[in-house]
Symmetry: C2
Subunit: 178 residues, 2 copies
């Protein structure tokens, strides 16, 4: 098992147009999408996101880079990118959809129910088991998701006291309900 070490694209030298493109913007081009300024900004925000922002948060971050972006465009864009398979929508509870780039690879989430932190991890054994289960039920596994809700073990907790929160796409609500 390996915890993901997500690398974010550093901001490109804004030379011309295509060179400064973020990884996701490049994916968009690859998918034949028309690259508008707004989309390029949103793509960049998504590429640089290390968490699981919701639309509101994406809108906020995009607006910082270019104030001429509307929420509607963010909604339209994430929907488009989701359809293209570039983005994945998540539901961690709380009513709003949260997004992350598919290119980050398949991984799972462990949510710390006390702090709201979301820890990502990969696990081949798990993939294999799930595929096996699906097969036993007569299905080919097309996609899947697993979320663990846990609490730090006493022994683990005393190791560090980095009590703060790490991931938080704008709102972290452990239980998913206020």
């Amino acid at each position: 098992m390996v915890m993901s070490t997500k690398k974010m694209g550093r901001d490109g030298a804004a030379s011309g147009e295509a060179v400064g493109d973020s990884p996701i913007a490049r994916l968009c081009v690859k998918h034949g999408l028309k690259m508008t300024g707004q989309r390029r900004v949103i793509a960049r925000v998504l590429s640089e996101a290390e968490d699981h922002p919701d639309v509101e948060e994406l809108y906020r971050r995009a607006s910082e880079l270019d104030s001429r972006i509307s929420v509607a465009t963010v909604y339209r864009t994430v929907r488009l990118l989701e359809e293209k398979g570039i983005l994945e929508r998540r539901d961690f509870g709380g009513g709003r959809a949260r997004y992350e780039a598919s290119e980050n690879g398949h991984h799972y989430h462990l949510i710390d129910i006390d702090s709201g932190n979301v820890i990502e991890f990969e696990n081949d054994e798990l993939v294999g088991l799930l595929a096996k289960i699906a097969a036993e039920l007569g299905f080919d596994l097309m996609s899947h998701r697993a979320e663990l809700f846990g609490r730090r073990t006493a022994s683990d907790r005393k190791k560090d006291t980095t009590s703060g929160k790490a991931d938080d796409g704008s709102q972290s609500n452990p239980s998913g309900r206020a």
Copy 2:
């Protein structure tokens, strides 16, 4: 692995008041909730549900038994029961929350992406693996969920042609988006 064989409570002889109570209604009493007529009806609907109805569907079923129930009450009730741990909220995509009784035991869902059918299954090996993963990350596993999205294998498909849908709490949208 064992597919769940959920038993639903048959309707009780409406003798007095407490005798006809559904399993969930009894749980409500145990939790000290005031049992109004509406709650009793909703509890019964939930107890008898073999699928994962959303609020709209719960409202429809409850209304059949007693037309003097409002959607607001259904919302308030499921929220209350969820807080008490009697109900669990699910998100299978599609924007609306779907509910099922916690008493049905811990199980997982395999969603047929073509038909929208939801198949429930249990798997001890999976529980063990998830707990192990959590432990490796320094957590005690408090709860978890796993959803598989699959497509019937060619070989399996030709065995039966029960093409229709089985589970469907009012709306089944394989991809979660219309």
